[in-house]
């Protein structure tokens, strides 16, 4: 893949008057944003036909920085707002940029139901295992034993595997990468953007300030090295025992299928309604 310079991508898609961003030094959100914009650019998608939706949190500030229509909503509710946008105007392509706390905790119910409906939306999910904006509380994704301000002795809860959850709930496309896997990440976003129905690309993204500092991973590079250590490609994971997979996070493409999307289903439903009422043949 030929990669355009970052300046070119930045100049074309970012709102200069909104910069600098609120992101801390070493944060991974900027990288994932760049992958998303590169995917849009590579596909040559029409900027005016894409709406970015988000909830509340660091990553949810992204729609403000990009020069597209954007809806920055309430905490956890991005996908519910997205449902209205997409159903009211199916011509719009919807990207939801979400964090792990936003999507899987307060927004967990909207997440599984949006997936169940196969809502036509591409979710870019920043998973940094923590609540970064509010200062490092544990998230539903925090690995057991790791620390946050609300579990200062190490989390005692089982974490969610968001990618597996999305597969089980019925998503059309699910992939997970760490920020380090940039080419795979861009390719996955491209695939996701081209598919109908619910698509989700999860990124393990570093938060050195709120998460890393409390877990002996003080810098971005330290966290990225840790991701390299704890991630296992899905092809390799298939041949590993549960003991070997203990403490590891599987990365790769989890599912790629073409179940009918919500928009297609609703169009068919409208036709069925008119037929049953005798309005149409």
């Amino acid at each position: 893949m030929y990669l355009k310079s970052s300046y070119e991508i930045r100049g074309k898609y970012l709102r200069k008057d909104m910069l600098p961003t609120i992101f801390c030094p070493g944060c991974g959100i900027g990288a994932v944003l760049q992958y998303t914009l590169r995917a849009i650019d590579d596909l040559g998608l029409n900027q005016d036909e894409i709406v970015w939706v988000s909830g509340i949190g660091c990553s949810s500030r992204v729609p403000g920085y990009v020069n597209f229509d954007g809806l920055h909503t309430t905490h956890g509710r991005a996908l519910a707002f997205a449902t209205g946008i997409k159903l009211a105007n199916p011509d719009l392509k919807v990207i939801a940029f979400m964090g792990d706390g936003d999507a899987a905790a307060i927004g967990g119910n909207h997440l599984i139901h949006a997936i169940r409906r196969n809502l036509d939306v591409t979710v870019i999910l920043i998973n940094n295992f923590t609540y970064g904006m509010t200062g490092g509380q544990v998230a539903p994704t925090t690995p057991k034993g790791l620390r946050g301000t609300t579990a200062p002795y190490g989390s005692f809860e089982n974490p969610f595997d968001i990618a597996e959850l999305a597969v089980a709930a019925g998503a059309n496309y699910v992939a997970r990468w760490s920020v380090f896997n940039y080419l795979q990440g861009i390719n996955s976003i491209k695939k996701a953007l081209q598919k109908r129905g619910f698509t989700l690309v999860e990124f393990l993204s570093q938060c050195p300030i709120s998460f890393g500092r409390r877990n002996r991973l003080k810098t971005g590079p330290e966290l990225i090295k840790w991701y390299q250590k704890i991630t296992v490609p899905i092809s390799k994971a298939k041949n590993m025992s549960p003991e070997e997979l203990e403490g590891k996070i599987v990365i790769g493409e989890f599912v790629d299928r073409d179940r009918p999307s919500l928009i297609e289903e609703y169009e068919a439903y409208k036709r069925r309604a008119k037929k049953i009422m005798g309005w149409e043949e």
């Binding site: 939706v53 403000g64 920055h72 309430t74 707002f81 409208k270 009422m277």
Partner: protein, 385 residues
């Protein structure tokens, strides 16, 4: 356009059904809801009609999601509505505030039942008045309409959409289980007879740059809906005229919130609606809204028969509240009575309006049954004795 119900004709239908039909005639093409008694019939009627008129009706996972989807649909260009009752209304409060802050036109119907909590699901109440006005956090204003009959539920639904579009604001149709479930004769006008208002869109690129700016001097910014190439950023954070977050600038916050409040309060004359019955020479003035106003009207007739100079002020809009009107009426009245199905929510507003010019008494009733006219008459006669 073909409609799946009679238009330009009368029908004998429930209040909830009337609200659904009126919404469709007003141009509503997106409905999101979650089942709840006594509002479910609105949702069921919408589910029946919407696919036939190329609209959308969707059952969301909860009420939070319902109003969220309605806001999303509104920004995508649709006239949109949701309906609920007390517990669901409570869940919607956060996103109601978001709709106020982002100036999103929508209609939210609350078919009231008794609370707090799950309360009496099948019985009427008027206990959500203060929540409708002040339920969401922060300083704000919005519009609250209160129908008393099935025909009014129909007519006010259309008005609710018109006001929402005109002032770019959420409008609450605050009704109750009695009006919602009662069947009455309703005339549904032919669409050609209706005057419908649609939101002001930006006239050009320049106007679209200020989606939250007072570009026309009427306090209501044109709304650049999504997909038109304007690239609008909408946030619930305090934002400037361009929509850019400005969360620590006091003057930006003050200017934004004061404009959002002023666009409602400064247009009180246009929005406020009431019926004055026998008020001209009234010594005893009843003030009421919704279903109770019908009992109060009958009570006034009974009292007049017995020589008591009674009158009724029936409020069709409870917010913005016409405090000045109440004071004017209080100046000529000996005593005012507020009859309502709660422990005194409208009473507080009327007392403030009366401003000490007349005594204000509360005729309160809770438990799910509407005041009988006789109860109101008895109470007033007791005081006169």
């Amino acid at each position: 356009m073909r409609y799946p119900f009679p238009v330009g004709a009368a029908d004998f239908i429930q209040g909830d059904e009337a609200i659904a039909r009126a919404a469709i005639l007003a141009g509503c093409r997106f409905y999101a809801g979650y089942p709840i008694t006594p509002a479910s019939e609105i949702f069921e009627a919408m589910s029946l009609y919407m696919p036939l008129v190329d609209g959308v009706s969707i059952q969301m996972e909860d009420e939070i999601g319902s109003i969220a989807a309605v806001i999303g649909a509104s920004w995508a260009g649709a006239k949109a509505m949701t309906a609920t009752s007390g517990p669901g209304f409570s869940l919607m409060m956060e996103n109601l505030g978001y709709a106020i802050m982002t100036e999103t036109p929508l209609v939210l119907v609350n078919v009231q039942r008794s609370g707090p909590s799950t309360g009496q699901p099948t019985l009427a109440a008027q206990g959500d008045l203060m929540q409708a006005i002040w339920g969401t956090h922060g300083d704000h204003s919005l519009i609250v309409l209160t129908p008393a009959t099935v025909q009014e539920a129909f007519d006010m639904t259309i008005r609710a959409f018109n006001l929402a579009e005109k002032y770019r604001t959420p409008v609450i149709l605050l009704t109750d289980a009695e009006v919602g479930h009662m069947r009455e004769r309703v005339y549904a006008p032919h669409p050609d007879e209706l005057e419908l208002i649609y939101r002001k869109l930006p006239a050009n690129e320049e106007e679209a740059k200020y989606p939250f700016g007072d570009v026309h001097g009427d306090l209501v910014p044109p709304m650049p809906i999504f997909g038109k190439g304007y690239r609008t950023y909408v946030t619930g954070l305090t934002h400037d005229e361009k929509g850019r977050p400005k969360t620590v600038e006091a003057e930006v916050h003050e200017k934004l919130i004061k404009r959002i409040v002023a666009k409602i309060e400064n247009n009180k004359e246009d929005i406020v609606d009431y019926e004055a019955y026998e008020l001209d020479d009234a010594d005893i003035v009843l003030v009421s809204f919704g279903i109770v106003a019908r009992s109060a009207m009958r009570a006034v007739k009974e009292l007049r028969k017995e020589g008591v100079k009674a009158g009724l002020l029936k409020l069709n809009v409870v917010w913005p509240f016409d405090f000045e009107l109440i004071e004017k009426i209080a100046e000529n009245a000996e005593r005012m009575y507020v009859a309502e199905m709660n422990l005194g929510q409208l009473y507080h507003l009327v007392r403030e309006g009366a401003n000490g010019k007349a005594d204000v008494e509360l005729i309160s009733k809770i438990g799910g049954e509407v005041h009988t006219p006789g109860e109101i008459v008895e109470r007033i006669k007791k005081d006169l004795r």
